[in-house]
């Protein structure tokens, strides 16, 4: 199952094929049943060179785990991650390190992502220093160049992270992420910890850097408005599974999955003039430990049918570059219909 399969270019920078990541849950008693958190289940995606790829979902949907699997911080339980055509986890140590230097990350929390004991200079040059082979004066030059690029002053070099506001810290983090000239940058909710008026500054900075350095972004966010603005392709995830995927334009102009619709209507827009119809979801996200069988979303889905409880929904292609995993779209076979699978569930089912 290859998502975006019909426009398979050779310019894919990163490909994930049926990647699943499970974590063991610490057992309460020595002989109790071993439980697994199914953080990511069977996700496939391809990120093309130079694009911005959005991953959208609520907390606990596995988007951060997926990002960590992309950059090789977590080894998937099954599936393959290919970066520039090489299977990341079958590379030898040296090649793995080299590949990873090509991918960097911008973190969500600008407060815990900078070592409070390091000066700004130490923080930004650290990746170069670790890689080695660069003279001190070259490092200094490179750091100054980046400092300019992200909009900080030279006199900030000898100061410590605690002297800076959240937005400025995020700029330092971005400078550190691009000092090794990576081709691939994972932005894990880069603005959600910042003030409203700083959001736009950081997003614009990221976009400028992408333009000038020709970077490929994976942009993780829960803010659909941001994703709509900057992403070319996107995945909507729920409880570790892809619900809807494809070109951002087609997903936003024609959202098909009930979860995508709910997310879109749940966005509290500040557009007061626009009348809104709201699809409110019932209940909370279930725990990723032993997630519901069948479609992961059925307990909260306002349109759930009998069959959704037992039969997992597969991703199907609905239009060019637009995939949905929902029984409402793919439908049931005639035998399944005969078994009553297409019956809508009673309205109280989610509680």
């Amino acid at each position: 199952m290859i998502v975006n399969g019909n426009n398979r270019h050779s310019d894919a920078l990163l490909e994930m094929e049926s990647v699943s990541v499970n974590f063991p849950v610490k057992r309460a008693y020595p002989f109790s049943k071993r439980q697994w958190i199914q953080a990511v289940t069977d996700v496939s995606l391809r990120v093309s060179m130079g694009e911005t790829f959005g991953i959208v979902g609520e907390s606990g949907c596995g988007k951060s785990t997926l990002a960590n699997a992309m950059i090789g911080m977590i080894r998937p339980t099954s599936g393959t991650v290919r970066f520039q055509g090489d299977d990341l986890f079958s590379l030898n140590r040296q090649a793995f390190k080299a590949a990873r230097r090509n991918m960097q990350m911008v973190f969500q929390d600008p407060f815990s992502s900078l070592n409070p004991r390091f000066t700004v200079y130490d923080i930004i040059r650290e990746p170069l220093y670790i890689r080695g082979g660069v003279s001190e004066s070259d490092m200094k030059g490179k750091v100054l160049e980046l400092l300019n690029l992200v909009g900080l002053d030279e006199e900030d070099l000898q100061r410590y992270p605690s002297d800076f506001s959240g937005g400025q810290r995020q700029r330092i983090g971005i400078a550190r992420a691009i000092i090794l000239n990576p081709s691939f940058l994972v932005c894990d909710e880069p603005v959600s910890g910042l003030d409203v008026s700083v959001h736009a500054q950081i997003l614009n900075l990221l976009m400028e850097i992408q333009q000038s350095l020709n970077l490929t972004y994976v942009f993780i966010s829960h803010n659909l408005a941001v994703v709509k603005n900057i992403c070319q392709h996107m995945h909507v995830m729920y409880l570790g599974k892809t619900m809807e995927a494809g070109a951002a334009d087609s997903v936003f102009s024609n959202p098909l999955h009930p979860y995508t619709k709910a997310l879109l209507s749940a966005i509290l827009d500040i557009d007061v003039s626009r009348p809104r119809e709201r699809v409110l979801l019932k209940g909370d996200t279930p725990s990723p430990i032993d997630p519901p069988s069948g479609c992961r979303f059925w307990q909260r889905c306002p349109f759930a049918m009998e069959g959704c409880k037992t039969i997992p929904a597969e991703l199907v292609n609905v239009e060019p570059d637009h995939h949905v995993a929902c029984h409402l779209i793919s439908g049931f076979s005639s035998e399944q219909k005969a078994a009553g699978f297409a019956q809508p569930l009673s309205p109280q089912h989610g509680e």
Partner: protein, 328 residues
Amino acid sequence: MTDTVLEVRNLKVAFPCPGGVIRAVEGIDLTTKKGECVALVGESGCGKSVTAFSIMKLLRTPPSVSRIDKLQLDGQDLSHLTERDMERIRGKEMAMIFQDAMTALNPVMTVGKQIDEVYRRHGKLGKREARRQTVRALELVGVPEAKSRAKSFPHELSGGMRQRVLIALAFACMPKLIIADEPTTSLDVTIQAQVLDVLKVMQQEHDVSALLITHDLSVVANMADTVYVMYSGKIVERAPMRELFTAPQHPYSLGLLASVPKLSDEKQSFVQIPDTVPHPMHKPSGCYFHPRCSSSSDRCERHMPRLEVGANDRQIRCWHPLHQERET
């Protein structure tokens, strides 16, 4: 609908520090009417939470120093009340909904028991009757299987459920004023929508006035009737919600509104306000916003504008307000 519930006149709070004085709140006037939801919007460090804590009189005198001309709740003067009297008022006449429900709830007591206590203390109800009220309150805020959920401990509930419990707890004593400090910030978007709906319905049904403290303009758009925009310790604009969102007069309000990404936006770069909020110890001269303002002049650099009262109950603190261009 016209009687005033909360009236704050000239609230000032400062935090003396070894390096100088942090001017957190610089002379704020606030009024909420009965049944009205008033939002206090601003970025972190603008003094909005300090304002909320001062109204509850929860600020201790080290570390803060405050002055206030008038603090009235429903005609009752609170500014001279002792800590003991305030304890009675908090929870009975005004209640607070915090951002972090986990720290606001007692972790070793079932949530039902915590709400029971409010009913028993303020409503003078018996044990049975209190529990019946608790279950009803939990049902009202949309907690499923309220009867059994009342027996669970805070850590057994999800974030959204805990926030609902907090709302039930706040409304339990029929307060005159609810102060909600970032009530949904830590929640997921879909849960956020649910909780806000509950809060709105409860507030309107009980005809209680609410003071909503938030940095999230989308929350304001969904909840508030009147909005105060705060910047660096001062109110820069006050307007009815719809008017603020359609025709902001202060450049800062406009910048805030524009910098929020909207689904209806075309693909483009994001509108940004340059620079950052000034440090509360080293504020710029004149209008605090002038270094970030696109229409600043010499006058802005030198003199702080006054808060002028305009038409339609609007207030604006700016030398070059934007409404002239907007109205044409």
